[in-house]
Symmetry: D3
Subunit: 293 residues, 6 copies
């Protein structure tokens, strides 16, 4: 169960309204790598978790913090929209600057949300649950979490550069710092997971590696013209998991069969066949297609 306090985790007060920037800031609220995504991913990772309790507790700590980040961003956006343009834009018809500003705003901020924040991204596309990652395998998920904090911090830094409002930058400097922590936190959690012997590369480690086709497990296939890719760490030396040696295949040939055509399918599917034929549906008294037998 959850409790709410009226104080924000950190201030969220702009110097002045700016509906154009409000549109952009939506990206880190309701976008793919925004705060709702990490809030939901961490909540579901925590609630579904079946392993040692220290991980579960840690995941729910940060999940709960993220609800507060969503709150801060929603509050900031609502304030950026306070003087939002709803009037008939007569001024815009005369003043190119007013017209330009209007063109850069999101019309739904007025029409749909009445000058409030919405769980959408910067082009107005709604957040959806495919942004929630919770696979049950912690190493797979912690790698995702490192990614999410990296993409998220990247986007917040870009947004920092897109405003000079000191109030907005102050809040963003807090979120950027927290993302620094969270990148470190998930990297630390990966170390812990491996140290605890719960998971390692390749994920999932509980699957017996001798069931995979081991002869291709550490081959690099050069399928793009040229050999520039040969000069990287991925092309030589021991593999990162310590279980093999990288092998660069410069001129790879297919290992599989040649496919010129597939077998025929049930003719009742009415697809194009190698020869034309008339099909009589079951129960209509006509002859039945052989393939249906």
């Amino acid at each position: 169960m959850f409790y709410h306090t009226k104080r924000l985790q950190y201030d969220a007060r702009p110097e002045r309204p700016d509906p154009v920037y409000a549109k952009k800031l939506q990206e880190v609220l309701g976008g793919q790598w925004g705060e709702i995504s990490v809030m939901m991913s961490y909540l579901f990772q925590g609630w579904n978790f079946r392993g040692p309790v220290k991980y579960r507790d840690m995941i729910l700590d940060i999940a709960t913090e993220e609800i507060g980040h969503v709150e801060m961003l929603a509050t900031m956006i609502a304030r950026l929209l306070e003087k939002g343009p709803v009037d008939a834009q007569e001024e815009a018809a005369r003043d190119p600057m007013v017209a330009a500003v209007l063109g850069g705003t999101n019309p739904q901020h007025v029409i749909v949300n009445g000058l409030g924040a919405a769980p959408n991204d910067s082009v107005g596309y709604p957040w959806n649950a495919r942004y929630t990652i919770a696979s049950g395998n912690l190493l797979a998920d912690f790698r995702y979490n490192v990614t999410a904090e990296s993409q998220g911090r990247l986007q917040v830094c870009r947004l920092y550069e897109m405003t000079t409002d000191r109030g907005v930058r102050d809040m963003l400097s807090f979120l950027i710092a927290r993302d620094t922590m969270h990148q470190n936190q998930w990297l630390a959690a990966i170390e812990e997971l491996v140290a605890d012997g719960l998971e390692e590369t390749p994920v999932p480690s509980a699957f017996p590696q001798d069931l995979e086709l081991s002869k291709v497990s550490y081959q690099f296939w050069n399928l793009s013209e040229g050999f520039e890719s040969q000069s990287g760490r991925w092309a030589r030396g021991p593999s990162i998991d310590g279980k093999g040696e990288f092998d660069y295949i410069g001129k790879p040939e297919p290992l599989g069969e040649e496919v010129r055509e597939l077998g025929d399918a049930n003719p009742l599917a009415l697809g194009t066949m190698k020869k034309t034929m008339r099909v009589t549906p079951p129960g209509t008294g006509g002859p039945q297609p052989a393939a249906a037998d």
Copy 2:
């Protein structure tokens, strides 16, 4: 530009048709972590790439390989559907086993695709471009790629366990092995990227870290009841980026302002205000709202 050969990268031939399994196998073709996702992510990472050419070439090598993986899965699914059930199901009305099998199939495999594969996942939800990650920042993206190969290998391993068809398992053992390589490859690429001095933790490293609110950059906030989270690597010792020290805040208090109410917005937005008021639209001759000034 691309060229196509008629040979598959590896065989894709089941022992026998199995439309129920075909439905499940769709997940790693058109699901969030399926082959289309990595194909598209790597293609766009490569095409958009502006850094050293060895990375671009490497990314497009693996991207091109993934198109071949999509081809193998599509071929396998088309063959698993070959005897797909299209008839009037009179047998199903009598035989619970036939009825059960039908209940486990995807009706679109017959009605929409005519016994062919589709770029959808195992519940029939269509693949979409939000699964394509290409941020322009390689460390952010390589972390995503490690994740994708981890989630992907996890799902293929689960699917391996859900069939005993030797032909299917043979193909999956190839894909699992390639995912082993690709997890290693992206981990190696991350090492190379750091060694080349192009990027490091926290991402993005080009943003000056002294602009973030450094006092909270390495704090762990315990916002979930209990202290189990204190016993992990993330709660003590130097941070993973080597730039700070983890600090466990056991009883965190909000740092921000108390929000009891927001300011009034433009009354023309017709939202609920602190006091009721009647609003006259511009251009209708009535008195204009003060807030519109």
Copy 3:
């Protein structure tokens, strides 16, 4: 079956083209609370309806009217787009006002729709069927209908304020008036439904209320810091359904169990477990996991 007349229900002719406004007006055509949503919701409520015929007939009357509203809006938008900007925008490169106008238009109106209306909202997001509500329970649905006419009238009023075109305002004044009627109509239908003894609060009333956990049926839980919520109608006095008494719980405690960890799951799912383990898939000759038994 349906018939079409060539006359519109009401005029839909702007004073002059305005592609920027056309983009905004899309919201009440193809947005969540636009005319397509009520058209489809009422059609499906009517077609699926199993109760007294007077309701079915009434629902289909208004559903049929809504098809005509969609027609009016589509016609208006097509006319607003008549002089739509398709040229190479050389003028825009010199004139900030032209550039500003272009920035505020929807590029799909030209590229995709050739200066016609589309069933999308004001940010170009396509209408989808999750906006169609037809639950089979009339009170649940009529409450939705009141909401739809309220959100819809709110949006049309906001759009009225965003233009001074007399032709557009004339058409909107018709739609606003019809929404006034339809709010009243659905509120009247709710009265009728209760008067006819078909449904009442709490919905669904056919479910025996003694099966619910009645001790919490009229409690207000104060889970947000502070007690301002205590001063409302919802915190004291008889409940609105007349079946209980509101009870304000100022300092609520959880009623449920403490969850520190979940039980183990099938290890074949390859999720993170309390202890690490190696899993052998069925049919591979190795030892089988106990949990699979």
Copy 4:
């Protein structure tokens, strides 16, 4: 900011695993009318709110409670999946009952979520932010909230009937009771809002009603064959808002213009025109179309 306790608001423990029911129960977790929808709608209504503080506080109280409901459902579903079927289904190939059960499960519960809950509905469609309603106008939104609690209670009652597991029914009896409270709570809030003079029918009341086309404000248009709709409350007597009289138009005629054709558009849009013509793009040296002037 938010805090989390380890205790659930109410117990969420089934008698036994049941992956088929887990699939169905997802509807009230991640479906359109599920707990995530009310959680997100109430959070955004609260965060965006600009009116009297007692409403804001009340909204955030219930919003915070809903996070706890999401937690209960996720926990329940994770437990229902504990013995989830991941094996090679050899038994299913022989036993119609096992095959039937497998056919009724959601394959993503194994492949994607590793036997955990996901924020999707009962057909696997992901939750999306268009289910979040926060318009800034409280009466419009409270009407939505009444609807959401009605549709939600309806769905939970249906799910109650679809299981006999006493643990599941116990938790559902709690949720049904809370929905009873919440229907009453939002109805009470509507009464309070009107009593406080902040809003009334028709919504939005701040828009001057004399700007609407008042002659059609209380007319019922009978557009569907037959006159059964004449016998309801909506066809006669004073309107519910007390501002008009219902008027039944039995044989309605269109009020608008006849539309036989629209005006020509910019020929550069390359649409079909009344006469054929060849178009020369700007900047190519050919004659320019007149319509581009």
Copy 5:
């Protein structure tokens, strides 16, 4: 404006309820190629139309008919669901046939729609407006319409084969016949359009063909291994539009530049560059990046 009659265009009455088939039949109601798609496409093509009135009238005739087809399918599905399974399924726990039937039903038909039809497809995915095609260019759109009637008839024929219910088959035989007409109708409309000189191949014909790179306008590029594609009509002889000659390029080489790397972008985007660099955001007092100039 539209009017509704109570009579269906054709009967829609099954011999008996069949909730498994109801799920499948949804495809041609709310699927990509279902009746809602053609209803909406034709309505928008008609409403947006700017050419000769005989086309507009014809398009709206068939659009109006399609609303009636949607009505027939919704009615049929509601009847197929009449005895829909809502009970606690104790019988299912014992009887594999009952369990199998349940596994093949759509749970939303009970939980969400209360045994009514919904505008979704056979896997429960909601209809969306991207299925509405109205480009403003009639030949482009009529080609789409021919496709829609072809894919639609194909799906209805497949569904005919998936039932033996005589009532369902009777209704489907009507829809199949109408699709026969509509394929012919749109093919006739294409003939008329060309005969009227309004449009021809290649679409759009108003664009001057001398602006295209004519040397590749009739070349077949053989980019897939082998030469089987050389034996078709597309590889030799005059082109179908009569304006060129097909030319088979058996061993095609790229015509474009070699791309080894792209140019640098604005460093403030914080993407990976050819060399590492530290970026100082504008307004923070540090040195500004050169690329921002």
Copy 6:
């Protein structure tokens, strides 16, 4: 399996960056009728194909070419974004032209993609797999392919007119020419298919036409007021398939039953019934509803 060359199929180099045009050009990359759609449709049509090998080879030739078109567009967009605006827009605050340009850009090009292309359309809506058409019936699919090349060429021509950049126009002139070829190619393929006796109108031709309700197979129903539709080719003369005669029904009457109400459904669905009733769920000890028997 596929191979990649570093050379583009044709040049993709703009004269100068133009982020506003980059946003628009996205339509033909990731929009419904963009290059990704034809790439994916042709790949899946080829991989799923079961008919004569010359068709399979031809389809995969063009599919492989389309991957190269996606590459060209992505490259072009990345270059158009090279000087993309990421700074704090102080200049924009003073210069209406700068502000206007910013208003016309897609914020995700900076925030999400770091000045690279994305598989989205011109309003930022992500590409999705419902744009992939592969039905198994070649005539149905080839008709779709003709449509896709028509809508696609139409959009590229519109985009040609929306720029004067010679580099962009050069690339578009190549794509327009290829679309000319591909319209011709698919029309030729349709001729070949009919000549080979594999399929004909009405699609699917393998379904016995005597099972359709032949009396309505060639009737035109005039359901829209007026008789303008009578003057077209679709209203008289032999049908296009040569199997019937068009018949214009000027005053059509419904052929089906009158529907005043549907039958009752299972009362456990808790829908509105003709009479009110209380329902007791199974397993709760109360009397069971008759309809559940």
